[in-house]
């Protein structure tokens, strides 16, 4: 559990673009063997949601929001060496953001958590064209496919992706998640068999 005091210090640092202070906080937590999911949800996710709110309220600029995103991506990379848990499940997953979706932190977190649990995770990153995703699925032959959607207006692109994946690989297990669904709207996924909505990283860990 990350204490509120520490979270506030991190939020203050990230809002000021202070990479050094963020680095110190995260390094300390990792050295003290923080649970990766707690680190991701209680520090990275929580701070980025708050930053989104602050932008919405016109309290911070786009530039500051982008800097916070860049710092969070740095912090995720910092966590990477700590993801090796030793256990190997021999399962494979391909995680991707849809075409036109440039927010990749959520998808990266899901890939990292699965990696932590011994999965072989292939993260394709932001704005992945459908044909590249299909090619990767063809090569990797994953046990699970994850699609991340941060902005709801990209829903049509997600549906195009799901149409393609479901028609090429009809027996696939597909997880869909992301900030886009924070206020609901998951009914759009009902028409795709084998597709499930992933509510949180905690739910992911519970169902692995």
């Amino acid at each position: 559990m990350i204490k509120d005091e520490l979270y506030q210090a991190y939020l203050h640092a990230i809002l000021n673009g202070d990479r050094g202070a963020c680095l110190n906080i995260v390094t300390n937590l990792l050295e003290n063997k923080i649970n990766i999911r707690e680190l991701y949800t209680q520090l990275f996710q929580k701070s980025m949601y708050r930053i989104g709110e602050l932008w919405e309220m016109n309290k911070i600029s786009v530039a500051r929001e982008h800097l916070a995103t860049a710092i969070t991506e740095n912090m995720l990379s910092l966590s990477y060496p700590h993801l090796v848990s030793g256990s190997q499940s021999a399962k494979k997953v391909v995680i991707s953001c849809t075409a036109n979706e440039y927010h990749q932190i959520g998808g990266k977190m899901v890939a990292d958590i699965l990696e932590f649990h011994g999965w072989d995770a292939h993260f394709l990153g932001a704005n992945t064209p459908v044909d590249e995703l299909l090619q990767c699925i063809d090569e990797v032959k994953p046990d699970l496919i994850g699609l991340s959607l941060a902005i709801y207006f990209n829903l049509p692109a997600l549906e195009t992706t799901l149409d393609a994946v479901c028609s090429h690989y009809p027996n696939s297990d597909i997880l869909v998640g992301g900030h886009a669904f924070i206020c609901g709207g998951t009914s759009a996924l009902n028409k795709y068999s084998g597709t499930h909505y992933l509510e949180s990283l905690a739910q992911l860990e519970k169902n692995i």
């Binding site: 309220m57 016109n58 800097l67 709207g185």
Partner: protein, 421 residues
């Protein structure tokens, strides 16, 4: 060694490399397709819009000393793009993506190492020298008359050398300590790397569908969807124009840049008709909060949605059913606005404002009373900053006389007590 001499030495190789790219070879040989040239203007408008905004709003002392509004190139680019607008040139997504990568960096450095912005400015200002040389190539390649379509390349025209000298002198004077050099040099390197990628994607152009990118509407809009049907784009622009005519406050406060954002936002709203009503409403509610916190009460979005629905239905009548969703959404915003205050009371309060102010101000800022009452309701409906963001502009004593400010306060107080009843 002075900063300008160092920058010249540091970037000499990049210059040679950039000039030898196929884009420029084709340009000099007068074989460059018009699509490549127009897409160059589009991509550079993305870079210039963000760079110039960051420079103009920077608080860094050295930047403030070097930058002035005469250095802006965006107006020239927009003029050139307007000239070519009647010719249909599809958007080249890779070059816009390259430009967006550059502006992403520009935004980050503006906070982390703002002096690097001067490295970007150095390269873009330096390009005016080469551009001026190439301007006749543009005119000849596309059979243009005068400077039509080549204002950006013409730049400072025959004053280009003296402008460059002035810029160089200012840079050398302001950046006088070698300790200040590294971030500027780094910025110049980044600019050339970004430009190389951008120009490589401009020739040869990859075949693509006739896609419209939001950068053609607003170079600063980033990467959100807009309609793929040109009729819908035009309808959205018409709706935005109508709304701006109805509420002169828009132009007074947000100017041309604000109009571009209004245009791109309206195009985005048109794409929402592909969603179901619930999903569409969520997006509208989100935009409503974002705009209200920036001084645009929900009444403005409500009006825009009515106009947009009408314009889209006129432009593409076969999709009337889809556009109805915008009407439903506008009605919902209206319902929300009037749930705490009766429509007649809302109107009376809004119109009463006009009685308090001078006649000329009333005409110049028509419907301000409506916006004030709407902002009070928005705030009461839980939108943070809705009232404050409008209020602070309308009570600025540099802009408005005492009588006006008193009228603003009076209307706000009356509306506040009415919605609290």
């Amino acid at each position: 060694m002075e900063i300008m001499a160092i920058l010249k030495a540091e970037t000499a190789d990049y210059h040679v490399k950039l000039e030898s790219l196929p884009y420029f070879c084709e340009l000099i040989a007068h074989r460059l397709p018009l699509e490549c040239y127009v897409n160059q203007l589009r991509a550079l408008s993305v870079v210039h819009s963000v760079l110039e905004d960051q420079l103009a709003t920077s608080t860094n002392q050295q930047i403030l000393s070097v930058w002035n509004d005469d250095l802006r190139k965006l107006p020239l680019l927009l003029e050139d793009l307007l000239f070519f607008e009647p010719r249909v040139c599809s958007d080249n997504i890779p070059s816009i993506d390259s430009a967006l990568s550059m502006v992403e960096k520009i935004r980050l450095i503006s906070i982390e190492r703002p002096l690097s912005l001067l490295g970007y400015l150095y390269v873009m200002e330096g390009s005016t020298l080469g551009n001026y040389m190439h301007q006749p190539d543009i005119t000849e390649s596309y059979h243009l008359g005068g400077l039509n379509g080549s204002q950006y390349y013409a730049g400072y025209k025959d004053k280009v050398r003296s402008h460059w000298q002035q810029f160089a002198d200012k840079m050398n004077r302001v950046i006088s300590t070698p300790a200040l050099y590294p971030p500027i040099i780094e910025g110049a390197h980044e600019t050339f790397i970004g430009l190389e990628k951008l120009y490589r994607s401009l020739f040869p152009l990859k075949k693509s569908n006739n896609t419209f990118h939001v950068a053609r509407i607003n170079p600063e809009a980033g990467n959100h969807p807009i309609p793929t049907d040109k009729r819908e784009i035009q309808a959205a622009l018409n709706a935005s124009n109508r709304c701006w005519s109805e509420y002169p406050y828009y132009e007074k406060r947000y100017g041309k840049r604000g109009k571009r954002f209004s245009d791109s936002d309206t195009c985005w709203l048109a794409t929402l008709t592909a969603l179901d009503q619930i999903a569409l409403q969520k997006q509208i509610d989100w935009l409503c909060r974002v705009l209200a916190a920036r001084g645009m009460p929900s009444l403005l979005l409500e009006s825009l949605l009515y106009y947009l629905s009408q314009e889209l239905t006129t432009a593409v009548p076969e999709n009337k059913g889809l556009y109805q969703k915008l009407l439903i959404s506008a009605d919902r915003l209206k319902l929300n606005r009037l749930k705490k205050i009766e429509e007649q009371i809302f109107r009376n309060l809004a119109e009463e404002f006009d009685q308090f102010v001078e006649l000329d101000m009333r005409d110049e800022y028509k419907k301000i009373g409506f916006l004030l009452v709407s902002a009070v309701v928005d705030e009461n409906n839980g939108i943070p900053e809705a009232l404050n963001s409008l209020h602070k502009w309308l009570v600025d004593s540099d802009r408005f006389p005492d009588g006006w400010i008193a009228a603003v306060e009076k209307t706000i107080n009356k509306a506040t007590s009415k919605v609290s009843e």
